[in-house]
Amino acid sequence: MYQIRPNNLAVGRDEDEIMAKALGSGVAVCLYDEGSRAGGMVYTLFPDSRTDMKLLADEKLKYVDTALECLTKEVEQLGAEREKLWAKVIGGAQIFRFANGREQENIGRRNVAAVREWLKEHQIPIKAEDTGNNFGRTVRFRMQDGNVEIELVNKHKYYI
């Protein structure tokens, strides 16, 4: 089991498993090619690299758009076929809700919207999605069959 931290990615195949713990407003995207049983997961906290006027080379995994470019390249290098890739999208919650809503900035929703936009633009279909709401999620992505396990703080588990 390989665990990724925020603003990081990992790729794998066959028996490999990739995990991201305690997603809040951040979003995890899993890309997978069933034929080659190769895929990867990226976990990012911010929606759009274009808002960063001084983007450094090592900050590409901070933003949904540049992170997804990196992930796609890496899974292709591992042998996945670009045309056969599908995506699963997890996270983008809003953990804190203020009573008056005044201070609210829903970064989780913006992260998910950025993912959907990028995937649509690059013609990668979304096979399943578990996003939004107000709870944290731990994600385990299994390369053997592309299954994604989601675990909540109360230890409840489900699969997408």
Binding site: G24, G26, A93, A99, I107, R137, V153
Partner: protein
Amino acid sequence: MKKDTMEEEATDIFLEMGNIGTGSAVTALSNMIGRPINEIFPNVMLLDYDRLMEILGQDDERVLGLLFPVCGEISGLLLFVWKQDFVSDIFESLQGTKARLQDLDEEKLSVMKEIANIMTSAYFTAISSYTDKKIEIHAPAVSVDMAGAVVTEPAGWTSGRGKYIVCVESGFYGQDEKKASHLCFMMYQESTVGFLKSLGVEV
């Protein structure tokens, strides 16, 4: 202040700020629950999720998070991360009963909100008189969830307004340091720059 380092002078100022604020907040807590509370010397860093989580504990540990927006001449977000054991100790002191985080009802959450309110007020009153800056505190939002999820949202929120977020973290505990809870002030970049400039510190 350079990309990922903080000048010593600026660090000392924020350390002193954290010390004064936490001292006052912890005294307020101790008075409320009638027990001595110890504080852990603050950490000052440019916001770094991994480093912060090393201090706060496991990503997937259940915690009670309270988040206060802070405005005025010093602005940012103050995050409380309360651990199970400490919350239980507090309820034992106040009501003579243990409380589990997963079972906190509205009434118990209100008690914790009130405690955090009083601590926050003490924290910023002390900082305000130390820095001579006006600071306004808004009502908090509350969540009982995984520590990682509780931390990434304010971290993302502050970082969305600038790359260089100063984070002043302090720990406090009753008897066992391993059961420490934490408070963490993440300052918006524009506030940090304005604050340091007003003190004559080169940024």
